[in-house]
């Protein structure tokens, strides 16, 4: 089960992922990120505090937007990952491509 909550704070969009991302629901994550690609959004932050599990289906979604974010000048980051999920990013070296930070304040401050 995956639930995605969106919170807009000015030009910052926070996507809170609640549950598990796998091949059965990664399309929902894809849609949410696709919808975030708007000119008025400058920061996209994934709140991963309630993300219990992510498989390569979900990781692949993040990776497929790395260049889009960069081309549009959108600062993209992920915060609050539990240890097990954070380790999955590290195993693949995705933490060298995507900013993974401890909290929301740090995530939003990345734009400065």
């Amino acid at each position: 089960m995956l639930q995605i909550e969106k919170v807009r704070e000015g030009d910052v969009l926070i996507l809170q992922l609640i549950g598990e991302v796998d091949a059965s629901n990664s399309v929902l994550l894809d849609q949410s990120i696709q919808e975030s690609l708007q000119p008025e959004i400058k920061v996209v932050v994934i709140d991963g505090k309630e993300l219990k599990y992510i498989s390569s289906a979900g990781l692949g979604v993040f990776m497929s937007y790395v260049d889009d974010f960069s081309e549009r000048g959108i600062h993209f980051s992920i915060f609050g990952l539990i240890q097990q999920v954070g380790e999955v990013f590290k195993i693949l070296g995705l933490d060298r491509v995507i900013a993974i930070v401890p909290d929301k304040t740090t995530a939003i401050a990345l734009r400065k």
Binding site: M1, E20, D22, A23, S24, S26, D30, Y53, S55, S56, A57, L59, G60, V61, M63, S64, V66, D67, Q83, Q84, E87, V88, I91, L92, G93, L94, V97
Partner: protein, 140 residues
């Protein structure tokens, strides 16, 4: 008796697969982190089979069995049809994944990084992928 599971080839069955693996790894003394990673590796292989070998046809099935090999655990994943030998799969570079915006390709890389051994056999139209992980150092 080795724990066994029969899964329908639908991605909605992946949550059941995770519960089965997590529950049956308890007895081997793995840490929460190890259990999480082994579960992920098994799911990656199974999801790959469901999507690419069985086209998400819920009428087709995959068998799983967890075996205690003494100092290591083996998860055997068996299916019928076109075999997918992940040992022969050349995983992409990260840069390639980003540039080609491909949403797949990372799964097999995860399996190879997480598991200690991967074996593949194909015989009489039946394929078996065996994922092996050593027990933690102080267990047994």
């Amino acid at each position: 008796m080795s724990p066994k599971l029969i899964l329908s080839c639908s991605t909605s069955a992946l949550a059941d697969l995770r519960s089965f693996i997590q529950l049956n790894l308890e007895v081997f003394g793995f840490s929460e982190l190890d259990k999480h990673q082994i579960t992920l590796a098994v799911e990656e292989v199974v999801a790959n089979l469901i999507i690419h070998s069985h086209a998400c046809n819920p009428n087709e099935i995959i068998h799983l069995e967890i075996k205690d090999l003494g100092k290591k655990v083996a998860v055997e994943i068996t299916d019928k049809g076109d075999g997918f030998n992940l040992l022969e799969y050349e995983e992409p570079e990260l840069r390639q994944v980003i540039e080609e915006k491909r949403k797949g390709g990372l799964g097999i890389l995860l399996v190879k990084k997480i598991m200690d051994e991967i074996q593949f056999e194909s015989k009489n139209g039946e394929n078996m992928c065996r994922l092996i992980k050593k027990f933690p150092p102080n267990f047994k």
